[in-house]
Symmetry: C2
């Protein structure tokens, strides 16, 4: 199913909303320029927009408008927009751009952005882009691509500003002022030893405000963090966030300086990691994007639903063992989903806290047993509270104190089990090297469903029949 431009007329008539990043009105005007094939107007309207906002807009409009807009915008399309686009839309856009426009856009990009662009593309598109790069850039990009995906080596920029550790402020300032091609953005001068191993960072602000004869080593920053080139980018983001780093040198296996990672790249990784965690916890493929097609979205969500179906069928098998009891006391069928549902929710609470605490390294060997004990107690306290409530509901609704006692007992059992499963399953998965955000949910729900139905129906058989 493709989107039809007709719907846009309807959308444009709706109210504008100030809270949107891009006002509806601006998007409507841009689409009007596209409709009327008015290139000058389109360029004028797009001119004040940041590349990130243009990329967002391209993701939000439908495929037909996107194609027409890009063809009309043509040579104005620059590399930064490409960098900002979601993967799925980016591939589509690359297919639409004329080869000359694409070549120019890519040549404008920084080498780390080209790497980021290339790693998501199919081989054919990769080669087409590598071909248009200048020789030096191509070598740099190809070198970066030899580092593992999602490693510091892919994230770093290769342009570094360094100085021998024995220099003084005056020498550093003279060097900087006489160097032609400093990077656009840099925050530190990295001090290196004779073997090119980084030993300290000096901030530009500190350099600016110190007297010329002061030794660089004496004004180095307290916090200095060196990143091996193979370190996973998630660990890099953690280090930036934990130690409030602004930039950090990257070293190869011989501890030699090969690049630098800056906080803006680390922030983007942190954002992605969080997004991934949230989507994984909800059983949505972590690559899920609003701009994905119906088919892609369905494919991403199907596996998790299939796992959930297995869980649900397992729970049904438990219920099936108690068919006779249900036939005798139909109130059991009415009340049984309550126990399972409460357990599922309590389990999700515990597991979410556990998954986050593992991700932020707040849950460690030093406190895991105390946290497990806490979760069990929290389950017990909440279990008792809801047991009292449900005992009353059971009694007043169905007039049976025994039924009230059964559901109360089942509630306590299931909430304690939910607390324990919610904390222990993520911890065990993490130890086993499986991402707890990805797999914990299914396991925890299975436990709380099975225990919930079994405790309630099993106790009912013992007490009521």
């Amino acid at each position: 199913m493709t989107d039809e431009p007709a719907e846009l007329v309807e959308e444009r008539e709706e109210e504008a909303d100030d809270s949107y990043a891009l006002p509806r009105k601006a998007v409507a005007q841009i689409l009007y320029a596209v409709d009327t094939n008015d290139r000058d107007q389109l360029i004028e309207l797009m001119e004040p927009l940041h590349a990130a906002d243009i990329a967002d807009m391209l993701e939000q409009i439908n495929a037909f408008d996107r194609m027409r807009l890009i063809k009309l915008y043509d040579r104005e399309f620059d590399g930064e927009i490409l960098s900002e686009l979601d993967e799925a839309i980016r591939e589509e856009v690359i297919g639409i751009l004329r080869p000359e426009v694409l070549a120019e856009a890519v040549r404008e990009m920084d080498s780390d952005d080209v790497v980021d662009l290339l790693e998501d593309l199919e081989e054919e598109q990769q080669e087409a882009i590598l071909e248009v790069l200048e020789d030096a850039d191509r070598v740099a990009v190809e070198q970066s691509l030899t580092y593992p995906e999602y490693s510091a080596g892919r994230l770093m920029q290769r342009e570094v500003v360094m100085a021998p550790e024995h220099w003084n402020v005056g020498e550093a300032i003279d060097y900087l002022r006489n160097t032609e091609d400093l990077p656009e953005q840099f925050y530190h001068v990295i001090l290196v030893d004779p073997k090119l191993r980084p030993v300290a960072n000096v901030t530009l602000g500190r350099l600016m405000s110190s007297r010329r004869e002061v030794l660089l080593g004496s004004i180095a920053e307290d916090t200095f963090h060196i990143i091996p080139v193979t370190r996973p980018e998630s660990e890099v983001a953690y280090a930036f966030n934990q130690y409030h780093l602004i930039s950090a040198p990257v070293v190869d296996e011989n501890d030699r300086l090969v690049g630098v990672i800056t906080i803006d790249d680390a922030m983007a990784v942190l954002d992605d990691e969080h997004e991934e965690d949230i989507l994984r916890l909800a059983g949505v493929g972590e690559e899920s994007r609003l701009s994905d097609s119906i088919l892609e979205t369905t494919k991403l969500r199907f596996p998790w639903l299939a796992v959930n179906l297995l869980t649900a069928v397992l729970a049904s098998l438990v219920i099936a063992q108690f068919e006779a009891a249900i036939t005798q006391v139909v109130a059991l069928a009415v009340l049984m989903p309550i126990v399972a549902s409460m357990g599922g929710n309590a389990g999700t609470q515990s597991l979410t806290v556990a998954v986050r605490a593992l991700a932020t390294k707040d849950l460690t060997g030093s406190n895991v047993w105390r946290v497990i004990r806490r979760e069990a107690f929290v389950g017990l306290v909440n279990g008792v509270a809801f047991a009292v409530i449900m005992a009353l509901v059971g009694f007043f609704w169905f007039g049976s104190p025994q039924l009230g006692a059964v559901i109360a007992a089942a509630m306590i059992i299931n909430l304690v089990v939910a607390g324990l499963a919610g904390i222990m399953i993520p911890v065990i998965l993490e130890k086993a090297g499986v991402d707890p955000a990805l797999a914990s949910g299914a396991f925890v729900t299975t436990v709380t469903d099975v225990v919930g139905f079994f405790a309630f129906l099993g106790l009912a058989v013992v007490v009521l029949l």
Copy 2:
């Protein structure tokens, strides 16, 4: 319940794990120094640790060890550790520190960190800390506290580096080199007009590498973003992430420069916002911390479980309408949780994607109808797939093609409804000014439970009886 030191012996015997931020062994050695009251050893062991790691360790050990460690560490305890601590533990630690130690720690802190520290404290503790500050610092801190909580005004630092817009590079460099008290960290010189309104940013790198006679205005950065002092910090974090800002000037209601926000603060906010979203989606109070006590944790989780109980009871009321049918065909009781469970999971998938897309401003008036249509179609496609599977399960398990048809039809209905509810409920809540991460889950589950049971049991009555 308080933790007993006895458990630590047991913990220490467990295996160390390399992936932890703080090695178990280091923590064990530190606690041994505390046990043996060996202050010199404690100071030596703590010396190489970053304040953020010390704070993490203090959060992970139990309250008794924490108290003994802090008392033994005494004067070595510095302000940065306080800044890094979680709110709950921080209050506890402030209560343990001797007044002189606390005073010294606070005096060492930057003014924005003091603000951050104070805003979470109770009034009595606030005043005690304000008293120990020097006059100038106290005025700055009190002024910051007049801005709304979670606003740019609370986040910014007041120390700014600015220059008149008509200056050239030489004048700026001379000014910087002759200024005594430049901030420790700064990345831009902010150009201002005669009314102190910021007009552009020049990076220090650019300043360093330009000739002295070049006008500052001609080497200003392309991307320049001004932040009003009352803007919510979540919007500030969004702007930094979206536009790759490193620092941004903050202005008052007259557009005059009053401070500057740097990317490290924005990164911390982004991290908090994500954390809040994840915890809210899971129905855990957003202030939830591993270091919370059992009672606090129980109180935070109870409300969400209570809402879930209402939802579950509502679903039970639906089931109760079909008691007669269940008594006749007990297979209905066995299969009915499957339909509700699948709907709940599909709804959670849609709603998580919607909540994230709203947070990142990717879901706007320009694409909301298309996304709603997509979610309905995804629900339909997955619904049909699982309908086929469940029809077969229903048929082979219970030998009834009618039962298979009923569960298949109910599955399709519920997954389409789940997709629609999952997207529309967050969008409506956002429009109504309610945080969709907080409230969507309960509404969506209510819809999928009620529709799931009603569709399945209702169709069963029509087809089977």
